[in-house]
């Protein structure tokens, strides 16, 4: 629309705006690019003084060290275990929390019942409880139940942590589906359950995907609770693993960057997959007002 009314003045403005936008975005992306770049550089360059800004060689050494391919390295981190634990916990908690959140989101969006608002508010407030405040009582309880250092125990916690946001998203998505469709299903003889399963649920699949991605990343990235509940390598996920890594040795910044890159992979996939849908997913509630 702006381009259709080209005047020299406007064109100059557009160039300034585009240039300025690029400048801001590059500044924002730079720290991330630096981390990723460092993972592929040689150690000598990273610790050099004066600093070497532009890498002269690209190497996979840091990743080799991490997976134990360097025979000179005595100690290393249990990356495989962290990866397996992270995947296990994130996947199980995602499936169950999204399933539970979808049901509850449907209840909030389609039905009027007593304590509707109060229940919704209580769920949202349960999400604002900081992880620090949860980790201690959970630790005390789990010690009694023998659930510390246990992946199932951790998954169980993450399910509850992820449910409120899943409900919030799914509530928004179900509100977008015209009510008439559900009512038509009732008229055609569907019960509540089959109307949900045959009409509303298939239409809310994009919402389900958004909720799943958020739940997965939240579990994958969580640090406060797992660092208290998981004390050994057999049950630690990536974030406490990375923390152990930096505590164990004098900080190996390149190793840290390499581990960060590994930990970012699911998030990178998510960013690529959801570029468009993410925004739609998050703003669904707003469009209807």
């Amino acid at each position: 629309m702006i381009a259709s009314r080209v005047s020299p003045h406007r064109r100059r403005n557009a160039i300034i705006i585009n240039g300025f936008a690029w400048l801001v975005l590059i500044a924002l992306a730079l720290p991330a690019v630096w981390i990723i770049l460092t993972a592929f550089r040689s150690n000598a360059e990273i610790n050099a003084s004066p600093p070497v800004w532009i890498p002269r060689e690209i190497t996979l050494e840091a990743f080799g060290n991490m997976f134990g391919l360097n025979p000179n390295l005595q100690q290393r981190v249990a990356v495989e275990a962290y990866m397996f634990n992270s995947l296990f916990v994130a996947l199980t908690s995602t499936v169950i929390s999204v399933a539970a959140g979808t049901l509850a989101g449907y209840a909030f969006s389609r039905f009027h019942f007593r304590f509707h608002t109060a229940a919704f508010l209580a769920l949202m407030l349960s999400r604002t409880v900081p992880g620090v405040a949860l980790s201690l009582p959970l630790f005390l309880l789990f010690t009694r139940l023998g659930l510390t250092n246990n992946l199932f125990g951790l998954s169980f916690v993450y399910i509850a942590v992820n449910i409120p946001f899943a409900i919030w998203l799914m509530d928004g998505f179900f509100r977008q589906i015209p009510r008439d469709l559900t009512e038509a299903a009732y008229i055609d003889g569907c019960g509540y359950w089959s109307a949900f399963r045959r009409v509303d649920l298939p239409l809310a699949l994009p919402g389900l995907a958004t909720a799943a991605i958020f739940a997965f990343l939240a579990s994958w990235n969580e640090f406060q609770i797992v660092s208290v509940l998981a004390r050994n390598n057999a049950s630690k996920t990536f974030p406490p693993g990375l923390f152990t890594f930096t505590e164990q040795f004098t900080i190996d910044w390149r190793g840290m960057c390499a581990m960060s890159v590994l930990m970012m992979i699911p998030a990178i996939i998510f960013v690529i997959l959801t570029q468009r849908n993410l925004v739609r997913g998050l703003t669904f509630g707003a469009i209807k007002g």
């Binding site: 610790n47 509850a104 409120p164 994958w220 208290v228 974030p239 990375l242 970012m264």
Partner: protein
């Protein structure tokens, strides 16, 4: 729902009653799994920690988990007389006020800028999402390294540019206001993309006719922003700030990694202090009291934010 549809619906409910799983109870049946999980993992532990907060429980003294009415509030009164508690509370209020406001204004500015961009908007949006790939703990490590006084990117750049000398490297994470500023920068970097993306989506979805009408009336760019964009963006602001307010405590990860509240408590926030008392010092009673204070503050902050939003919506 129109009344006609609802009567129709009711008639159908009647006829279907025989085989529906207790139609009146259907929503509760849907809510059940969620509530079971949340009550077990959030409700019950919170109540338990409320109980523990009234006892002098410490890990190394197993018999100390005893409730005595006259001593019940000891932990709380101890915290209220604790200068570190007040320092951490002050830091938290300062931190939240500065980050949330700055994030909002920066995101608003950036979204307006990007909405004007004529070429390459899609690739710009992808670039904007890059910080979202970083977990809070990664953001913490990243900026701890950048602000490291000897090896950090920031000091290296300043030295290379000749702005500071080798001998006068800045101790970013140590000096009094700088530690807090470093943490605020890291937090804003992490949260800016989501807010910007939501506000940008909102801006792009606004009806063009309104702007065309404003052009006809000779409105200035500022007037269009102030009287059209800003009020119409309200629901998107609401969503951006809701998501943000649900994540305030994520600052714990960043602070824990970057400075761990130090040095000398300069960057101590209520969350790091609660973690220190409860987990590191194993003073479970005192730590639980502190945890409960963080819960109350987090909930109060969320409610405050919601109220502000509701108020701003009414004014507009």
């Amino acid at each position: 729902m129109s009344t006609q549809a609802s009567t129709q619906l009711k008639a159908n409910q009647e006829s279907n009653r025989n085989w529906q799983i207790g139609s009146r109870w259907f929503p509760f049946f849907l809510l059940l799994p969620s509530f079971v999980f949340i009550i077990i993992v959030t409700g019950f532990p919170l109540l338990y920690s409320l109980y523990v907060s009234f006892t002098p429980y410490e890990l190394l003294k197993p018999n100390s988990l005893t409730f005595e009415l006259p001593k019940a509030l000891n932990n709380y009164s101890r915290l209220l007389n604790d200068s570190v508690f007040w320092k951490s509370l002050g830091n938290t209020v300062l931190f939240l006020t500065v980050t949330v406001n700055l994030e909002y204004f920066l995101a608003l500015g950036l979204s307006q800028l990007l909405a004007q961009v004529t070429r390459g908007q899609a690739i710009m949006r992808t670039m904007l999402m890059i910080p979202m790939m970083f977990a809070p703990i990664l953001v913490g490590f990243q900026f701890r390294w950048f602000f490291n006084s000897n090896l950090g990117l920031v000091n290296n750049a300043l030295v290379s540019l000749g702005l500071i000398g080798e001998q006068t490297r800045i101790a970013w994470l140590v000096d009094e206001p700088l530690g807090m500023i470093s943490i605020i920068i890291a937090t804003i970097w992490m949260n800016l993309p989501v807010m910007t993306i939501i506000l940008l989506a909102g801006t792009l979805s606004l009806p063009q006719e309104t702007y065309e009408a404003a052009d006809v009336d000779g409105a200035s760019a500022w007037q269009k922003f102030r009287f059209i964009t800003l009020p119409l963006l309200a629901p998107f602001t609401y969503i951006a700030l809701t998501i943000r307010s649900l994540d305030v405590a994520r600052a714990f990860d960043i602070v824990r990694i970057m400075t761990d509240g130090g040095p000398a408590r300069r960057t101590e926030l209520i969350w790091t202090y609660a973690g220190r008392l409860a987990i590191e010092d194993t003073k479970f009673g005192l730590g639980s009291a502190m945890s409960w204070i963080t819960v109350i503050i987090s909930v109060a902050f969320t409610i405050y934010l919601f109220r502000q939003l509701v108020k701003s919506r009414i004014v507009e």
